[in-house]
Amino acid sequence: MTPPPENPVPASALLILGCPEIPVQQALALHIAFQLRKQGTATHAAGNPAVLNLLKVSDPEKRYLPEMSVLEKCIEEIIEKKRDCDLCIVFAHSDAGITYAATMRHLLPAARLVVIIFGKDPEPLAALADFPCEKIVEKAVHNPMQLKRKMNGVFGWAA
């Protein structure tokens, strides 16, 4: 499946990760990184040290996520115009995740912003994201499959 014409393949993408307490996040982050690499998109991931360590362990040769940084450093680089992206994907399973997504909307007005809202009760969180963005909303904690299917559909990735 090819991406919809209104969303051409981005040259660069930024993955913003939340606290790693919900297991599906790390699996889906690597899935996204795999798909983006396959289509030629340079991807940078940002999160707290715990989530970055989980990803480093799962991707020891940095095949999928060669570039990672802590969230604060990444935000600083965006504000100081040292980092930009065409596509920003934010994982949000808490109010803090929505806060980071809103921040990205403000700091990266030209980027396509996709917010993946998941966890035990994602609908109230989705209602908080009242800024311009695409939302992928799914109740998901341990099983990533339904959320993966939705993401594949939104991004035009083959199953």
Partner: protein, 95 residues
């Protein structure tokens, strides 16, 4: 954002407050409040949040939301007359 955590702060609203609750609290409980956008520098750190971000001022104390990925948003207060004056000069009154 380790710098703010090292300052002497007062926790106005604890963990579990949503970002919007923090904004509403500032607007209701402070006669002097200002608005800034994400990326505004406060105490040498970039503040994040849903714009507009409300900052309350009570004398020399600045009250502001502080978000941590694992914990959520806290509303903190820090006494700093110079920083309060800088906010008055650089933030805006209108949302």
């Amino acid at each position: 954002m380790g710098c703010i955590e090292n300052l002497k702060y007062e926790m106005i609203l604890p963990l579990g407050a949503s970002f919007k609750e923090c904004r509403e609290y500032v607007e209701k409980n402070f006669t002097e409040f200002w608005y800034v956008d994400p990326g505004y520098k406060l105490f040498d750190e970039y503040i994040i949040g849903l714009p507009p971000i409300a900052l309350g001022i009570d004398g020399a104390k600045i009250v502001f939301p502080y978000t941590k990925p694992c914990h959520g948003t806290y509303l903190l207060g820090i006494e700093d007359a110079d920083e309060a004056e800088r906010v008055r000069k650089t933030a805006r009154k209108k949302k």
